[in-house]
Symmetry: C2
Subunit: 340 residues, 2 copies
DNA sequence: TTGAAAGCGTTACCAA
DNA sequence: TTGGTAACGCTTTCAA
């Protein structure tokens, strides 16, 4: 058997000991040279020999061994969710990532698909991240937060529509979106505003606060707010369009531009004039809104720049133990075009 | 000073030694119990004591220490790029991830923003992944592949439009898309086909092969293919629309549905009838295509199911050293609607 | 300026 | 059935 293995014994991975051997110095010296340790002075010739040996061998330090020795990592864990981030969030993610890299953190995304929710924090904790920035759509229980804390995480931060008790929060307060859209429609004299509630799974944490924001805008006036469940398909949209007249709606905030496009098409196919009979407002300010006829009014969203937030994360890591901090990242502004 | 530190000494992270102490057993026993080691028989009462001690302390094993001891990790590294994946790719990613998780791999995404390209493979290698599945849009040099190999990666796999020499490849051959779109247009009698080439950075690895595929479809016939640079904004689209008549185009393959929508709007605003004068075909089969008037013809893309690919990755990891394998994941089919 | 050695948390071998 | 111990790769303190 021993000769029959089809697994060629892989050449072992070079270690700092190999580099030391090749350079004719000790492992300590290798470490000093490769980490540019300033507290110790090494002759230039030794430095060169070490560096050459390292490149010759293709030596790459072993992050796990390093952090084991150090007693901590500089890993920031970004758990990911199942559904794709929009352009805005995606850009924000990458900005945050490079901001953190600039502060010498290693950012790593980690998906939790197929894990039982109660196992999730443990799976994260095994990696000993120094900070976790989790979508607030991942239910994070006090136990989960505590597991992370006990495993050495110095900051647990949620990112999303709502804060989570016991953790810091980067909040993207969706109420602003609904408030802004409804406010815009009210200003333009609309009084009976439908608010599209997507039935697709996972959107509730966004749609519910948007509805609440719309209600808030209408409070105290004579306007009414009507939640309108909608699936993202033409049939559902047609049914909804048919209900608009019976409901007496004169405006709809369609959750976002994509649902708005779907609904607007259905309204037009039903013979309802937009904006004459029903005004429509989307959100996200996608290019497609400018291409529709009538051009789609929308709510433009902006996220805070990420570098200050990277700095914030760094601060929370260096001074842990403070009370949970909440920071709102979102700004919303109505963009009036032709559909409202 | 010693009393003035505002950093409360954090309670140290519990280790298996702590669990052993609390349970009154040795570290070895703890390891046996918590890993359900079958080669050794431990009394039920001991097992219970160990487990209780572990939960009481909130013990979570230290992945780095484990893999240091084991001499290898089960980490599959998925480097990410700057621009957002479409719905299709996103779903595929998550399927692949859970497929690999089912095989007991830890999947981790790692962004390389802000790293010099030559440092990228080294940064990956520090994590000692057992496999790397990198977008082929990240330039992967032979040196890079070699660095990864020498650091213990048993499989380096690229994922994207083109294979990369020296690595395994999951190919999404974009030529099929162009071939399919142009073939569809030719079948319907069009003879002078424009192919939109987005000017946005990072799309060339997709657009170039699509163009090549279109050319391939036209080869040998009397048809002509015309590349049409286009930025994703209305001004650029208007300019392009104005060029259509002078160029004598009777059809355009618009790269994808979003560019198609942009262009179709511009054509209509210029007074060009779609599909009477110019046919338009997109790609991706987005919902928006069904909402346009005329309804947008498109190329529907499908990716292979991910579980077999997870199995493939597993095989490559277990039997490294074979010749680079190429697997095509993409299937394309024309969807005829009204715009062609 | 350099080297020896300890120790980080884990697991596996061998002994009891 | 359980425990002692060595080793994984690295950094750092101390000693030379």
């Amino acid at each position: 058997m021993s000769q029959l293995s089809n697994q060629p014994a892989p050449r072992p991975v070079p270690t700092s000991a190999d580099v030391a051997r090749l350079a004719g110095v000790s492992r300590a010296t290798v470490s000093y040279v490769l980490n540019n340790n300033a507290t110790v002075r090494i002759s230039e010739s030794t430095r060169r020999r070490v560096r050459e040996a390292a490149t010759d061998l293709g030596y790459v330090p072993h992050a796990a061994a390093r952090s084991l020795r150090a007693g901590h990592t500089r890993m920031v864990l970004l758990p990911t969710t199942n559904f794709p981030a929009g352009r805005l969030q995606h850009r924000f993610f990458h900005e945050l990532e490079s901001g953190l890299r600039r502060l010498d953190y290693t950012v790593v995304q980690y998906g939790s698909t197929g894990l039982a929710p109660e196992d999730v924090p443990r799976a994260w904790a095994e990696l000993r991240p120094v900070a976790v920035i989790a979508p607030s759509t991942i239910a994070l229980t006090p136990q989960g937060i505590s597991v992370l804390g006990r495993s050495g995480a110095r900051a647990v931060i949620t990112l999303g529509p709502q804060p989570v008790p016991g953790a810091h929060a980067l909040v993207m307060d969706q109420r602003k979106v609904g408030n802004c859209a409804a406010g815009h429609l009210l200003e333009r004299g609309r009084r009976h505003i439908g608010v599209v509630m997507p039935e697709e799974a996972g959107l509730a944490p966004f749609s519910e606060p948007r509805l609440a924001g719309a209600r808030q805008a209408a409070r105290g006036g004579d306007a009414r707010i009507e939640p309108l469940p909608l699936r993202y398909d033409e049939e559902s949209a047609a049914r909804l369009a048919a209900r608009c007249r019976p409901l007496g709606l004169d405006a709809v905030f369609a959750y976002n531009d994509e649902y708005a496009m779907l609904l607007m098409r259905a309204l037009q196919d039903t013979g309802i004039d937009v904006p004459g009979e029903v005004a429509v407002v989307g959100a996200d300010d996608l290019m497609l809104g400018r291409l529709l006829r009538p051009r789609l009014s929308t709510v433009r969203l902006e996220l805070a720049t990420a570098q200050p937030l990277a700095d914030l994360v760094d601060r929370l890591v260096r001074q842990p133990g403070g009370p949970p901090e909440h920071h709102d990242l979102l700004r919303a502004g109505a963009v009036h075009r032709e559909s409202s």
